[in-house]
């Protein structure tokens, strides 16, 4: 029989994968991989603040990530620095500050590895509730802004000219990114969350020819990664985050074979 903790991890992982699938497609389409990374790095600061103030972790991570996103948008307007430099600046400085704060919290036993790479044992019923309710809200909001967000991803001016609201959609999407990082941090760990967003979506891109199909395959890829990854993690006692990401890499490699095949067919 499977242990309770494992069932909990499976539930949590499936909840996360259902949300990272569609969001990940937009991360790939809008080229936001490093943006996701930056938000994820800043999550460490959120976690440490949660511990020191005895605050809910997911909520604290969400607030810090959203704050970092706001600072980024502000810096983009005020400085002439290129976007990637600003992203690097925020990612590493927030990570560094987070680690420094951990040093001050010597009275708390800190599982830094679990924080960075995810830990199945850490998932409790509360986390599952946060993941499923938070995830449902994220998906609902995404559905609501889908038209504007997608149209402006294809072409900003077309969307703006024909009565949609790309700027609002972009701002809401940024908040959704902070939210997904907040709810999935225990599962995958902050260094690997972006992988969970990008790799299944990249896999899906290889085998799909319409946006809807890509979202569907991305969700399926995420679910398979979670299931395969967690079972491997249980079997070989490896950290859950890396196991899930490794499983998604495996699926990505399989999708490359499909490309090779279709190129052969064309010739």
């Amino acid at each position: 029989m499977l242990d309770d903790f494992f069932i909990r991890a499976l539930f949590a992982g499936i909840g996360v994968a259902l949300v990272t699938g569609p969001l990940g497609c937009f991360v790939v389409w809008r080229r936001l991989s490093y943006f996701g990374d930056t938000l994820a790095h800043s999550a460490l600061l959120g976690v440490t603040l949660a511990y020191s103030l005895e605050f809910n972790i997911a909520l604290s991570v969400f607030i810090i990530s959203a704050l970092i996103a706001l600072i980024l948008i502000n810096l983009q307007k005020r400085t002439n620095l290129p976007g990637d430099a600003l992203l690097g600046l925020l990612a590493h400085s927030s990570l560094a500050v987070g680690l420094v704060v951990i040093g001050f919290l010597s009275f708390i036993r800190f599982d830094v590895m679990g924080l960075l790479f995810g830990d199945i044992l850490a998932v409790n019923v509360n986390d599952i509730i946060i993941i499923w309710i938070g995830g449902a809200i994220i998906l609902l909001v995404l559905k609501f802004i889908w038209k504007s967000l997608f149209a402006s991803t294809v072409n900003y001016e077309l969307a703006e000219a024909e009565g949609l609201d790309p700027d609002k959609a972009k701002a809401i999407f940024t908040i959704l990114m902070a939210a997904i990082i907040a709810i999935s941090i225990k599962m995958v760990g902050l260094l690997l969350i972006t992988g969970m967003l990008i790799i299944p979506a990249a896999m899906a891109r290889n085998i799909s020819n319409s946006p809807q199909q890509m979202v569907l395959f991305s969700v399926i890829g995420g679910l398979l990664s979670v299931i395969i990854g967690l079972f491997t993690s249980l079997e070989f006692n490896t950290a859950s985050g890396p196991s899930i990401i490794a499983a998604s890499l495996f699926l990505f490699i399989l999708s490359l074979l499909k490309i090779k095949q279709s190129i052969k067919l064309k010739n």
Partner: protein, 248 residues
């Protein structure tokens, strides 16, 4: 409906400045239902900028824009689509508004690209893509169409056919059209009102009036006002986009 309702968009001495440089200023014009207004002018004269002001893409503007419709179809001059997106022609058609399959088919047939419906946008040629862009803009049956060089890259016979189509659409849908074009002779014949731009409005009026205007001649040369012989040229057959010949 009163007279006011016939106006779809109205610019009142509108202008736009980018980094302290005026792209265009002092433009007043209005597009009414069922009328075609054409913007002409040399490169960099602010034609596309004027269109973007009318569409509300540029927000920090001088002067005023009054829009009386939200049903707008837009064909931008430059469009760069990111190919990280798997997007077929039919997905692109319902980009800003969900359309029925029948409506999509009709619109694609009008511009002669129905056979490209399931193709990936990235696989189209420049002219084919331009036809799809026009088709998408008209498919949602807009009240106002803004067409920024809608036939660029389209072959010559196709160009004439598309201009005829644009004229027909303005009559069928009774929509207003703001058209930007370089091809003076083909465009002017189908236009109700011409606005000649060069950073500001040089002259405006009916095509004949504008062609006679001194400033217009100064901008485009004496030759241009003579090419305004209205394009009357009939074939006994047309070429469909697959390269087949169809008798009229």
């Amino acid at each position: 409906m009163g007279l006011e309702n016939k106006i779809l968009v109205k610019l009142k001495s509108a202008g736009f400045r980018l980094n302290d440089k005026w792209l265009v200023q002092g433009v007043s014009l209005q597009v009414e239902k069922g009328k075609i207004v054409t913007l002409i002018g040399p490169n960099g004269s602010g034609k596309s900028t004027t269109a973007k002001i009318a569409l509300g893409i540029y927000k920090k503007i001088d002067g005023e824009v009054e829009k009386y419709t939200n049903k707008i179809g837009y064909v931008p001059q430059k469009i760069s689509i990111d190919w990280t997106l798997p997007l077929r022609v039919k997905d692109f058609m319902s980009l800003t508004e969900n359309l029925e399959d029948k409506t999509i088919n009709e619109a694609l047939s009008l511009t002669g690209v129905i056979h490209l419906k399931d193709k990936n946008l990235g696989d189209l040629s420049g002219g084919e893509f331009q036809r799809v862009l026009l088709s998408r803009a008209i498919s949602k049956k807009p009240e106002l169409l803004v067409l920024d060089e809608p036939v660029q890259g389209v072959d010559f016979t196709g160009e004439i056919a598309l201009y005829e189509l644009i004229k027909k659409i303005s009559e069928d849908l009774n929509c207003g059209i703001l058209l930007i074009s370089h091809d003076l002779h083909t465009v002017m014949s189908a236009t109700d009102h011409v606005v000649c731009l060069n950073g500001h409005v040089c002259c405006s009026g009916s095509p004949i009036d504008v062609a006679k205007n001194r400033e217009y001649k100064a901008l485009f040369g004496e030759q241009a006002s003579q090419t305004l012989s209205i394009y009357e040229h009939k074939h006994d057959h047309i070429h469909t986009s697959e390269g087949k010949i169809k008798k009229n």
